[in-house]
Amino acid sequence: MITVPAVRFGVVVFPGSNCDADARHALSTFGDADVRLLWHKDTSVGDVQAIVLPGGFSYGDYLRCGAIARFSPIMQAVTEFAEAGGLVLGICNGFQILTEAGLLPGALLRNTGLKFVCRYVNLKVENAATPFTGACREGDLLRIVVKHNEGNYTVDPATYTKMQANRQIVLRYVDARGERAAGANPNGALDDIAGVCNEHGNVFGMMPHPENSVEAELAGGADGGKIFRSMIDALRPAVPA
């Protein structure tokens, strides 16, 4: 029997992260993933194969979400890891940190409703050819919870044009039929954008929380598991037939 080694994930813990344990727990439900926590004061990411920047309120979201966290020592290492092609997933606050750090284009503004919003959204997979969505088909719907105050994605028009051409819009908020619709977008994000990747496709940020959506018996359902499945599959050496 040939055993394929588990994929090594690092989950970064910033002061104020509060979905770090959830991300670790979610990954631990996959038999072929190993997880370790990376401390924000660390200067190296070690030998991990993928990094998750978790949700939460790093530094209380004070000043701007992600603004202080992005200066953490670990972020220098994460940047180098990303530039070398490593997979980096930013969830919610992690997404905000990635935009603040310049690893993803755009920025996340206050929700148009000016309120924190926790609810289920339907997400359409717009691009299934990324390492984060490979386990999905294009047009698939994922039902996952969002919970944030600042998820209103914005980017300048010139960059947006390039992003579209480059298929960097990976997830959009849609209705239960998979259609773009008023009311489907919980935060006012530009063109219903819920998740984007960088030009090379190895850095991905999304506002909804896949780590709260890996176990069917819980309220969060299991649709989010596809994001982690995709990452694991992308990193596992092909199993010999």
Partner: protein, 753 residues
């Protein structure tokens, strides 16, 4: 320290002349000002429970699962497999009335500290809120601010807020109620108690710097004419810093888990004073506190201010000298201030020092545990009636369908989605049942077990009859848990009342405690923690007596739970419980007739217990597919809620009506026929205890009937279509699409713009 601690000064601090004499006697002469300030806080109603202590003794507080009853920061219940749950509810009414956002936020912060102080990781919060009517802009402002503050704090902490309740009644207009409940999970053999021990051990203050926040929040220091700098010394509103609290949770649990500290206590009301004197008193030791070592936010603070400041996000730890450097290391890692401010002594005295000079010296036990007790002579208020209102006093409305729509849209019944969608109810990956059903359900990771929570009180019923109303609150809380399939096991309570110095008010308090105590005894749910909030009055008018009941339920196997949603066409709808419902005290009486009067029904505790057992057994044997407590709005509203919440997509996991897309088509309707001896409108909208609407697959009906035995059980009809139709004696009284009902039920936001 210019001021003298005279009897005049004492009275200004809220003490009575007798109390002052008592203090002189304990101190052997005139106290110092620091001592007087400390006594005034510790002997305030809020800290000493002087009006409530003798009455609270009535509660049952022990049982096979109780690991810690009242008297610590939180009560603790054994939930199996070596796991335990710490739980507590607390009021933050007055701060929220002043500044709703920060008041509510710091209320959450305080209750969460009570939980992790015990060594438990906070895993859930619930909120019980009461305001005046929403047509007043001030009440909308309060509601908006309070919900925003609860979300702001809890969301940042990463503690899910998974349940609560909100009521709007004129009696709360001048005095809103904001009760925050929290619970945490810990190993049963790792309970930490707030007891100082080990002569020579160090007293360490961890967390935020100390400012003038809420000085005298628990007494009347604010109105003290101290000197000409009064303006600058005015107490500040407490501002919450959830980021610091999140770091405190992690650092404290790390220190407690690693046995780095001997014990721990949070700084709540009366700040350093109460935490240090309680720790000393519990441990039968003394504490020396060097007030000048406390890190300050404002440099010019005086020792008495430092001792009673209520600055948030601070913890006091007792640490052995050998562990001090480890404790410092953990705090440094979490960027938290950590300051050694004193030491444990064998003197049994709380001694306060200021740059080496002793400025206070008080016997800890007498200060913390021997505050005077007051029992107000009580009498029954005139308004209480022992006769139900004659039914023909109220004319039956013609269109009962329209009544149902109006009741569903009434703020007390309408969906509170607007509020709970501002709360992260899913963080920590334990949430099995989100808000919107009878109880919040969580799993316990790495076990098959689960726990359920609810928080309940019908203040209107308690107003009409505090004994019956309080009893009903316990029964309803237990019923909510049973409807979710959980076994109710323990209570935490928050008793919100008016001025206890008034005899009629005191009577309502005594009655409520008696009612709660009887129900808790009968239902085997001991009271393990709680809080009393008196003086909830404005312009001499008290709130409704509001004894809020927070309850914990347990599952051996959490996969055996259910919710209120009708699931499948053809399922049989049943009403378990008596055909008795009252108009008095109902939402129907208030909304349609503008009255709150009469006599509310009494709970038959034996029947209640039996009904709940049958529902739980039915769920455990997988006979019951949905169960819902018939409470506010009566049977018709209960049925409508089962239909409305069926509009979910996906499996049980998604108990969340999708407001986008075509999923409304999936609403389940119901066709029911009610056999009753009551007038038809009362049968539909009257309220009474011990009644549960449930659904079973037709093939399971005989088995369920057998389970119910002699208990009243009525077959009402079937789950079918997308319309709710209710018939009584061949008159179709309600015949409305569930979509329309849902619209009314979801209309709360329309009232908030």
């Amino acid at each position: 320290m210019s001021a003298r601690a005279t009897v005049e000064a004492a009275v200004k601090l809220g003490l009575t002349a007798e109390e002052y004499a008592h203090i002189r006697e304990i101190q052997g002469g005139e106290p110092t000002y620091v001592e007087l300030a400390i006594y005034s806080l510790m002997w305030s109603e809020h800290c000493s429970y002087k009006h409530s202590r003798p009455i609270l003794g009535r509660f049952p507080t022990s049982g096979p699962r109780v690991l810690q009853g009242p008297g610590e920061n939180a009560g603790i219940i054994d939930v199996g497999d070596g796991w335990a749950v710490a739980m507590k509810v607390e009021s933050h009414n007055h701060p929220s009335a002043v500044e709703p956002f920060q008041g509510a936020a710091t209320g959450v912060g305080g209750i969460v500290r009570d939980i992790f102080t015990m060594g438990a990781r906070p895993i859930i919060s619930l909120d019980s809120l009461r305001f005046g009517e929403l047509d007043e802009p001030r009440q909308r402002f309060l509601f908006d601010g309070v919900v925003g503050g609860i979300g702001f704090y809890g969301n940042c902490l990463g503690v899910p807020t998974v349940g609560g309740e909100v009521y709007f009644e004129p009696s709360y207009a001048g005095n809103c109620l904001v009760n925050a409940m929290s619970a945490g999970l810990l190993r049963a053999d790792k309970i930490v108690r707030a007891k100082a021990a080990g002569i020579g051990n160090k007293v360490v203050l961890i967390g935020s710097k100390t400012g003038r926040d809420g000085i005298g929040g628990a007494s009347v220091l604010a109105s003290q004419e101290f000197d000409e700098t009064l303006e600058e010394k005015r107490p500040s509103v407490q501002v919450g810093d959830p980021f610091t609290e999140k770091k405190l949770i992690e650092a404290c649990l790390e220190m407690l888990g690693g046995d780095l500290v001997v014990s721990m206590q949070d700084l709540g009301a009366a700040g350093l004073t109460s935490s240090s004197s309680e720790m000393a008193s519990k441990g039968h030791v003394g504490l020396d506190i060097h007030a000048d070592r406390v890190p300050l936010r404002e440099a010019d603070m005086e020792p008495w201010e430092i001792m009673i400041s209520e600055s948030q996000e601070r913890m006091l730890a007792i640490v052995s000298p050998a562990r001090l450097s480890d404790v410092r290391e953990v705090c440094a890692r979490w960027d938290l201030d950590c300051t050694e401010i004193g030491e444990v002594t064998d003197s049994k005295m709380l001694r306060i020092f200021w740059h080496g000079e002793r400025v206070g010296n008080i016997p800890a036990r007498r200060l913390a545990d021997e505050a005077p007790v007051i029992r107000t002579p009580s009498f029954k208020p005139d308004y209480i009636s022992d006769k139900p209102v004659a039914i023909n006093t109220y004319e039956r409305p013609d269109d009962l369908g329209a009544v149902l729509v109006e009741l569903l849209a009434a703020p007390n019944i309408a969906s509170k989605r607007w509020a709970y969608e501002q709360y992260d109810y899913i963080v920590q990956a334990n949430t099995v049942q989100i808000p919107g059903s009878d109880a919040a359900v969580l799993r316990i990771k790495d076990t098959s077990r689960g726990i359920a929570f609810t928080i309940d009180c019908n203040g209107r019923h308690c107003y009409l009859d505090p004994y019956r109303g309080a009893k009903a609150a316990v029964a309803e809380a237990a019923r909510n848990l049973s409807c979710a399939g959980a076994l109710p096991v323990a209570v935490t309570d928050c008793l919100n009342f008016g001025n206890p110095e008034k005899g009629d008010m005191y009577w309502t308090f005594e009655q409520a405690v008696e009612g709660m105590a009887e129900a808790c005894e009968a239902l085997d749910t001991p009271v393990v923690s709680g809080n009393v909030s008196f003086y909830n009055e404005s312009f001499g008018k008290p709130i409704y007596p509001t004894p809020v009941v927070g309850m914990l339920g347990v599952y051996d196997d959490v996969s055996i739970h259910t919710d209120q949603r009708f699931k499948d066409d053809g399922d049989v709808i049943l009403l378990l419980g008596p055909d008795s419902a009252a108009l008095d005290g109902s939402e129907y009486q208030k909304t349609m007739f503008g009255q709150v009067e009469g006599r509310v029904p009494d709970v038959d505790l034996a029947l209640e217990k039996a009904v709940q057992r049958v529902v739980r057994d039915g769920i455990a044997r997988r006979l019951v597919k949905s169960a819902h407590d018939c409470a506010d709005g009566g049977l018709a509203v209960g049925l409508a809620e089962c239909c409305i919440s069926s509009g979910a997509t996906g499996g049980a996991a998604f108990a969340d009506p999708d407001r986008v897309g075509p999923s409304r088509a999936r609403f389940r309707g119901a066709d029911v026929e009610i056999k009753t001896t009551l007038r038809d409108d009362v049968a539909l909208f009257g309220e009474g205890p011990s009644r549960i609407v449930l659904s079973v697959a037709p093939t399971h009906l005989p088995a369920f009937r057998q389970l119910a035995g002699e208990l009243p059980l009525a077959v009402l009809g079937r789950v079918t279509g997308a319309v709710l139709r209710c018939t009584i004696e061949e008159n179709v009284l309600i015949d409305l699409p569930v979509g329309e009902l849902s619209e009314a039920y979801e209309s709360l936001p329309d009232r908030l713009d």
